[in-house]
Symmetry: D2
């Protein structure tokens, strides 16, 4: 329904007059501003690793990690071209580091997660402590904390390392709260032995005088995959499997039980062999990274429907309030993240499980 008033009409003249005063009539746009249900510009999208990987490797020839600062190919939602966003509020990209490279140290108010996709030999350094990156590990770099990374392998014996980066870049841009700083040194000094933060905070214990050094953000920098995998496999064998999610756990900040970062929730789930999941929809659009196994996701919205067949290291996005369901014949493991904690903090999270 076009409500634009015809040229020469009284309303048109009024609209022109108030526009000069930086005013505009609500009644012409009310339906768009207050929609009956979410009308996201985001669309379902899929990045097959087999197609993506050659470009990633080519980027390694094109630019060094040091020059690029962060050598990342952004996964851009086809519905959000030019916005460097995978959903309206989140950013995702695949980052490459080659043996012997070092990426410079900086800090920013954007929170970041790293989910290791491929390769060994790289490390992430956060607040003076280096963590070795292994596929399946979930690593965070908290808001306003110095971080850098590098690859300790050599060009002759090392292998490229790739991870999924997830950040709240669009959110910080939207809220006009982005700050950044470069470290005075290329790599920050290493002041703590590897594993210190995990032993201090990750054993279901906390220091007696715990003082929340990273605010609402988890003091655990790395959640190793071997621990996560063991939990999922035990639960698959021993506990009831959810009809929608299979066995799905969310990572927590052990000091609060909340999400590891205030802007992003992260999950790992296992679909058992033969899983044929029921459909659901939720307001938080979610990004998936396939860790192990094969399967498919069916995403439908209005009349449209898309099915993505996925295997290890593939990535896909399910937009807000799109109906989705998961299947897996051989069983699989999926990492995912979304902005759910923000929806919950704002009291606007909705979820519907269809049967």
């Amino acid at each position: 329904m076009d409500m634009t008033p015809p040229p020469g009409s009284t309303r048109k003249a009024f609209y022109d007059a108030i526009r000069a005063q930086h005013m505009t009539p609500l009644w012409e746009v009310l339906h768009a501003l207050v929609p009956q249900q979410p009308a996201t510009p985001c669309v379902p999208a899929f990045w097959a690793y087999a197609q993506v990987r050659p470009y990633l490797m080519e980027s390694g020839q094109l630019i060094t990690a040091e020059e690029a600062v962060r050598r990342v190919l952004i996964l851009e939602n086809p519905g959000l071209q030019g916005q460097s966003a995978i959903t309206q509020s989140l950013y995702a990209g695949l980052q490459l580091i080659l043996p012997g490279e070092v990426a410079p140290s900086h800090r920013h108010t954007q929170s970041a997660l790293r989910f290791v996709v491929e390769g060994k030999g790289a490390y992430t350094a956060v607040d003076g402590e280096r963590t070795t990156m292994t596929p399946g590990d979930f690593i965070i770099t908290p808001s306003w904390t110095w971080h850098d990374h590098g690859h300790e392998g050599t060009q002759t014996n090392g292998e490229p390392v790739v991870w999924l980066d997830g950040l709240d870049i669009p959110m910080l841009r939207f809220f006009d709260a982005g700050f950044a700083e470069n470290h005075s040194e290329r790599s920050q000094p290493v002041t703590k032995a590897e594993g210190t933060s995990y032993q201090r905070y990750g054993a279901n214990m906390l220091p007696v005088r715990y003082n929340a050094p990273f605010g609402q953000t988890s003091p655990i920098f790395s959640y190793p995959y071997d621990r996560t995998r063991e939990a999922l496999h035990t639960l698959e064998r021993q506990a009831p499997v959810d009809d929608w999610d299979g066995v799905k756990l969310r990572y927590v900040n052990p000091a609060t039980g909340g999400s590891p970062m205030p802007t992003m929730a992260t999950f790992m789930q296992r679909l058992p062999a033969g899983f044929d999941g029921k459909a659901w929809r939720q307001t938080d659009g979610a990004i998936f990274s396939v860790v192990e196994g094969h399967g498919s996701v069916t995403i439908s919205h209005g009349a449209g429907q898309q099915v993505f067949e996925f295997g290890p290291r593939d990535h896909f996005v399910i937009p807000s309030w799109h109906t989705a369901s998961l299947r897996s014949a051989p069983g699989c493991v999926l990492f995912s993240f979304s902005d759910r904690p923000v929806h919950q903090a704002l009291g606007i999270h909705r979820e519907e499980r269809l049967s």
Copy 2:
């Protein structure tokens, strides 16, 4: 610095190739995505009520409240044209209701505040209870709660009523979480006497079995100006006056001590006569409505500086991380609101008091 690679270059070819895969190189946009400090498109803006009011009254001739659903002139930030936004995350507008009119009942997940600017005789109905609107009153319509309004005067003896609407419309759009519904009846049935919710929740007491009927949102619908004004005037006389803010109080949800709505903080402040405030800046852009008195606000950003002289019913906006200071020769009262609770929930709020 233009980093766009020249046509025909290897990088240009690479960028074209990956664009087809919905990928884009981070290193070309990193500085824009992770800025050193907030680079908001928002600009300072001022709406003098003397200029705005005639258009508001003209809108009353142009369209009925019923046809318009909500007869509002949106205050649109000159830096955000076409976005119906006064800051990137917030919406503001001036709404008019005329004697005898009724605006239809609906509900939506957007949270809304009403700050009464002019006139008597109107009411807002929320969840079965009507509240009479008096200038200076701060009224809320909680997320997903039925609300409507009307004017009980007659065309012969009534006067127009105007209020400032503040909503989180851009935020709900950004997070893809907007839902809305129209009531089956034009006005919702009145089921509670006026004043019930204020007596039940507003006397520094709560029902023994308080069950958070509006989630994180305050159960008080209306914070009357006479109560607020008394508090401010007492404190101006008896308590220390802050060098930046004068006497400034924030409205609270009495069940939590948090903001009345999870997405917006609201404030009322009194600048004593002769106040010459120090400058500050904060990440949350703020919208002001002048209640009483006259004064000026100085807003500077980079090399630029603007001064707005204000009087009763004028409105202005201070964008994120712009330096601002307030002055008032005769003394004045200012209402304001911002998205500060979101910044705080996300751990991204910054504020700097300059001396």
Copy 3:
């Protein structure tokens, strides 16, 4: 069932032997230690003001406020003789101040409430601010905050003032956490005008930079009865009356929505004329002070039952897990307090509403 082993038996010898090692067998006392339901030594008790008042006045002849420090007749539960306790965890007493008297300033980690029972002319000073005491007012002296009081009347024109004191004395003794200090001056200096704290914190608003000056304790020192009474009477007329409680509100700390003090909940309730309440029981024993009107309380436990007919200024206690119900022919107003917030913090609160 007497499980004490006979003299000369093996068990007896064993018990004697381990007693010397400061050990004792659990199995002899398990049933007492882990009872099937609360087995409180507390009993229902009633103090008729007509009987109590003459003694209070006599105490005014016997000792000065200054000598007594606090001239209080402790209401001691008949089941807890010698323990200065009205329930196992709480202390209650009636305090008298005469015209012209001053009681010295001190502070202690015990939290205290004052509920004004009779008379005008007295004040309580807390943290540099004096509050005039009027019957029905609920006043607090937060943990570790300087407080004193006095009576500004003269012996010729003044009247005695009496209030109910409620403290967590037994609780602090039990947890070994009592500290106290006397002020270097008889009365602390007055540094704030009366009403400052109520205007600053009591108008459903809080200072922008609220910093919890009294920790978990409310920054409002006095909750005036006229405000409370208005709320109760409005709700009695306009809102549903609860079958067990009539109209019952709990006082809150406006900064948290929790109880005014972390150890005690306080309530005011109105029973409408003709109220014949249903019975309930709860784990928190409660102390009542009758404000207005007449009525009766029926308390039963096991086979026993007691009925107390009450009028203004009478006091009574309902012990833990005793079944109670309230009646009032003319209507009445009751103040009460208990240690409910502790039960809730410890996850041990139980309540049962019988029908």
Copy 4:
């Protein structure tokens, strides 16, 4: 100072008269009720395992686990004789189970911890899941949750198993909130495989739909020693050692970051070889169980001082506000627990680190 009035005096007559009304004068007891600092009846005490163990084994001859329900020798503070308490608010005992025995299933509102001291082959069952008990493991049985235990060994090849029981029995008695029930079956049915709860809740992840099945109590039933020990030893090597505590961690409820049970905090600490700790005092009295190594604790109060030399499986108690310091030549590991979370919830916790 004896303030008791002489027989025949006016005051004595007054006291007698009001005693009949269940009243007593505050001014006679004010100093005792509001002490300048904690005046606990608790005294320092030490139980050498070499002395205790023979009695524990003798109790195994004297009574069966089934008859005793819980075969425990209570560690009773010499200052609290007859109260079955190790501090005023806490209970501690040593429990024995012999090969082949089963202790019946029950539940109660008292929260309980088990810290395994000696032996293998026993299990604790909580909410349908059995957990094997290994020395150093910290196990909980949440309030109002079915629990039982047994020993799967045989009389020929099994060994006795002993653990420290810690409960909030005196606290529940004080607050009159104790409820208990016996299970209809001797052992509750096993419905979950061992390790399920640890995998579900202990991997720094939580189920997506976590619903706090045990309220404020941790959903992890067993915190295994091998995990705790690894954390302590890593931190001893890699992180700064605290001058008072060595390396000290507190167990947490991973869903909240709070203590595993709302009434008790639990800690494990490692003193490195040659540790000579500084002195401290705190309001929460604490009970220690020595896990590994040898050392000494010096406890002083007023003029008195006691030194306990300790080795594996010894137990001791440091009362409230007693000054204590720890030393260890060879290095040692200490488990401890106190009622600190209650002190913190009530806003009455104090701690002083002396230098």
